[in-house]
């Protein structure tokens, strides 16, 4: 795999994870989930917009990569996002990590990496 291709996969992955964290921040409704109080509506709209921008960048980079690689090879790389999102949600959104959740997340990540290495 060329360094440029690897770099583009990383860009696609990180923008995807950033988008998910933005979406969750924007989606929280007062009293729906435990944790810090949700931001005001205007701020949530901005965060949602940032999420859309991140996902759009991820989409076009992914589209470019799909023209070069098989989908079944490329897509599993996004499996790494499971681990990053789970850790990110704990760090930035103060979500609780439980032992089964961590074990399940690791199993999914290893499974996805195994698929991607095939």
């Amino acid at each position: 795999m060329r360094a440029v291709t690897l770099g583009l996969i990383l860009v696609s992955l990180l923008t995807f994870v950033g988008g998910q964290l933005c979406f969750k921040s924007a989606a929280d409704e007062p009293g729906e989930v435990p944790g810090p109080p949700p931001a005001p509506p205007q701020r949530r709209a901005v965060v949602f917009g940032a999420g859309i921008v991140c996902m759009t960048v991820s989409f076009f980079v992914n589209l470019h990569l799909l023209q070069q690689l098989d989908l079944s090879f490329l897509f599993p790389f996004q499996g790494l996002s499971v681990l990053i999102v789970t850790v990110g949600a704990s760090l930035f959104l103060r979500e609780r990590l439980t032992v089964p959740l961590v074990i399940g997340t690791l199993l999914i990540t290893v499974g996805v990496m195994l698929v991607s290495a095939s």
């Binding site: 583009l8 998910q20 964290l21 979406f23 969750k24 924007a26 989606a27 929280d28 409704e29 729906e32 989930v33 944790g35 996902m55 989409f59 076009f60 980079v61 992914n62 589209l63 470019h64 799909l66 023209q67 098989d70 989908l71 079944s72 897509f75 599993p76 499996g79 996002s81 499971v82 999102v85 789970t86 949600a89 704990s90 959104l93 979500e95 609780r96 990590l97 439980t98 089964p100 959740l101 074990i103 399940g104 997340t105 690791l106 199993l107 999914i108 990540t109 290893v110 499974g111 996805v112 990496m113 195994l114 698929v115 991607s116 290495a117 095939s118």
Partner: protein
């Protein structure tokens, strides 16, 4: 048992179906995106790194519709589910996509890939147990 718990129970059952629908629509979107990308593989893009040539295929636009549908269900599920729980569950796409590629695009799944799929399914079951525990608490 008590009537006040019913709305909460319904509210916690609903997001899991929304996550599953999100995964199904996401899988459909990715397969169609691959078809669209393959159709425009030899089309020259005006921008080398942000490839917009794929937009010249109708399959890509249908894929975008499915992506939006997936996003709608995802945003709805995120209102009630923690991201750290919902996101691993949404990774059922890593089982659905290789199977779809094998079934519809003729791509090959070897033994190692099958093992990976089995691990993902095991992980999903472990995470689903967390969801069941959350549902009990609610």
């Amino acid at each position: 048992m008590s009537p006040p718990s019913e709305p909460k129970r319904f509210a916690t059952l609903s997001p899991i179906f929304q996550v599953l629908l999100c995964a199904v629509f996401g899988t459909t979107s990715e397969v169609l995106l691959k078809v669209g990308a393959a159709h425009t593989q030899h089309t020259v893009s005006p921008l080398p790194w942000v490839d917009v040539s794929g937009l010249m295929s109708a399959w890509t636009w249908v894929s975008i519709v499915f992506t939006l549908l997936s996003l709608v269900f995802w945003m709805s599920a995120l209102r009630t589910l923690p991201l750290g729980l919902a996101f691993p569950l949404s990774n059922s796409v890593h089982v659905l996509i290789p199977l779809s590629c094998w079934a519809f695009l003729g791509e090959v799944i070897n033994g190692r890939r099958w093992c990976g799929i089995a691990l993902v399914v095991t992980g999903l079951l472990v995470v689903a147990r967390t969801y069941a525990n959350l549902e009990k608490r609610l």
